[in-house]
């Protein structure tokens, strides 16, 4: 297992605001990661620091074992596609692609041309006149055709319709299968990317709240639905991350894998089990982390 990125107690402060709070994690080679979290959680900041576009307040960041800042050995091997990328004023998409071809050693022009067709990108219009979705397509095409060893996609799909998003996911997987590389994809559409990403990193209020394989997250939680008393009896002593009730019917989302004994007990009690999607799991985990923080801060006061 090779680590292409190592982050050690990385902190970023903007004045009084702590955007990233002493986070540590590693990124394995040739794995597709989902970097997930709410708006303002610190995802973009982390990616900017890893690509030397932004600066850490403290902590250490290593990419391919080296500091990325002003490092011409490291930077050409990474590509950062950001949602709000700006382009030279009078540039058209072919100008942007021709430039990317100059700087990314693994650039694949054929793939680029094919993606232009796939996304039906108008090549003769200035980038600043493109629609939001077309602008996103320019970034996505650069990110895919650059074939950098590490590619960061920061919410690359803004304004892309469902069909175009699916095209992006399909092409990414296809090309990844032929040219394995490390991809870090930040997204709000968690269930949409759940089948794409192999590992999830969830960041909330500048801290990592989840770092595991996507497979491990399946079956990590289950929702128990049925008679309120029976649900209470079953969930007693378990870690409940969310519960709601409507009249006599209650549902509770519990952490932990259900054993065969559990399943028998549930059947006997007449309770139903519903799977928890990655999105629900992350939403509930994030909410619980926020609740715990509030309680902790309340206790301090």
């Amino acid at each position: 297992m090779t680590h292409v990125i190592e982050v050690d107690r990385l902190t970023k402060r903007y004045g009084d605001t702590v955007a990233v709070n002493e986070i540590s994690f590693t990124i394995e080679k040739d794995v597709i990661y989902g970097l997930l979290g709410r708006n303002g959680a610190g995802k973009t900041t982390v990616m900017s620091i890893l690509t030397a576009q932004n600066f850490a307040t403290s902590g250490d960041v290593r990419v391919f074992g080296e500091q990325p800042y002003e490092n011409a050995r490291v930077l050409p091997r990474v590509c950062f596609v950001r949602e709000s990328q700006r382009y030279p004023d009078d540039a058209k998409p072919p100008h942007a692609f021709a430039t990317a071809k100059l700087f990314f050693p693994n650039w694949d022009q054929e793939l680029c041309d094919r993606l232009v067709d796939d996304f039906q990108l108008p090549m003769n219009r200035r980038i600043k006149k493109l629609s939001r979705g077309q602008l996103s397509a320019v970034g996505v095409i650069i990110g895919l055709a650059a074939r950098a060893e590490i590619t960061f996609f920061d919410e690359p799909y803004l304004g892309l319709d469902a069909v175009a998003r699916q095209t992006f996911y399909d092409r990414l997987l296809e090309d990844y299968a032929q040219h394995p590389r490390t991809v870090i994809l930040s997204s709000h559409l968690i269930d949409e990317v759940a089948n794409l990403i192999e590992r999830v990193l969830v960041i909330d209020e500048g801290r990592i709240v989840m770092d595991e394989t996507t497979d491990a997250t399946r079956g990590r939680a289950a929702t128990i639905v049925g008679d309120a008393d029976a649900v209470d009896a079953f969930t007693n002593g378990r870690e409940v991350i969310h519960s709601e009730a409507l009249g006599r019917v209650a549902s509770a989302t519990v952490l932990g894998t259900l054993t065969d004994d559990d399943r028998m007990a549930l059947t006997r009690a007449g309770l139903d089990v519903a799977p928890v999607s990655l999105q629900q799991l992350i939403v509930r985990m994030t909410q619980r982390a926020a609740d715990e923080r509030r309680i902790r801060e309340g206790a301090l006061r």
Binding site: D30, S48, T51, A52, Q53, N54, F55, E70, N71, A72, R73, L75, P76, R77, V78, C79, F80, V81, R82, Q85, R86, Y87, P88, D89, D90, A91, K92, H95, A96, A98, T99, A100, L102, F103, F104, P105, N106, I142, A148, E149, H179, P180, R181
Partner: protein
């Protein structure tokens, strides 16, 4: 994956930054030529309309100078964020961008000097109209005139780039404070010269020093601005 390991940094990528800046030839080549051409045609028309028989001068070439301020600003505000997306280091971006400006300034200097030579040969386009050949600037010959154009072009580009860097780094207020600061230093210099009763000496130097030392001192200012812009750029977030 057996990735192609790129050549470690260096000159190749700096030259690629030049190509990036020139990839759309509009900004650095066609628009300046268009401005110069238009100004030249306007000057000719105006000269033709003036019945005065003595030498007529056009300061039209300065239109291009103002355009270069805008190019300098855009080189930072738009090209810098894009260069970061292209995984270019700040140093490569800076060197490549200034190399582009230098090459453009050299071409402009050659063009203006050629224009001046033609003016000399045709006695001001047959109308005694002078846009490129200004006696004072040509006191040291064509090479001196070319150096002056180069220095002024570099200074305007660098001033635009420098101002945009300060703005990006310290915001509008920061830029205003720094410009006021520069103004205060200028005032202090004026006061000092007056205090020392040295005005005669200063003007005497400007008048006698000639175009070459003046151009070189402008290039000195370019160096100072470029060096401070680079220091700020090193910590700039796109």
């Amino acid at each position: 994956m057996t990735a192609v390991t790129p050549a470690a940094g260096g000159g190749h990528r700096v030259l690629n930054v030049v190509r990036m800046q020139l990839i759309n030839r509009m900004t650095f080549v066609w628009i300046p030529l268009l401005i110069l051409g238009a100004v030249f045609v306007f000057s000719m028309v105006i000269w033709a309309m003036i019945p005065y028989g003595g030498p007529k001068y056009s300061a039209g070439a300065q239109a291009l100078i103002w355009y270069l301020v805008a190019v300098g600003i855009q080189a930072l505000t738009l090209s810098f964020p894009f260069s970061q997306a292209m995984s270019v280091t700040r140093r490569e971006f800076f060197l490549g961008t200034f190399l582009t400006a230098a090459v453009s300034s050299v071409l402009l200097a050659v063009l203006c000097t050629l224009g001046g030579l033609v003016e000399l040969a045709t006695d001001g386009w047959g109308m005694n109209g002078w846009m490129f050949h200004l006696d004072w600037a040509w006191a040291a010959g064509p090479a001196g005139a070319a150096l002056a154009v180069f220095a002024v072009a570099m200074l305007t580009f660098t001033a635009g780039f420098w101002g945009a860097t300060v703005y990006k780094r310290f915001g509008g207020l920061g830029l205003a404070i720094i410009l006021v600061g520069v103004g205060l230093v200028g005032l202090a210099a004026l006061w000092l010269v007056g205090r020392l009763n040295a005005w005669a000496g200063v003007f005497g130097w400007i008048a006698t020093a000639g175009i070459v030392p003046l151009s070189l001192s402008l290039l000195g200012i370019v160096l100072v601005l470029a060096a401070t812009a680079f220091a700020m750029l090193r910590r700039l977030v796109p």
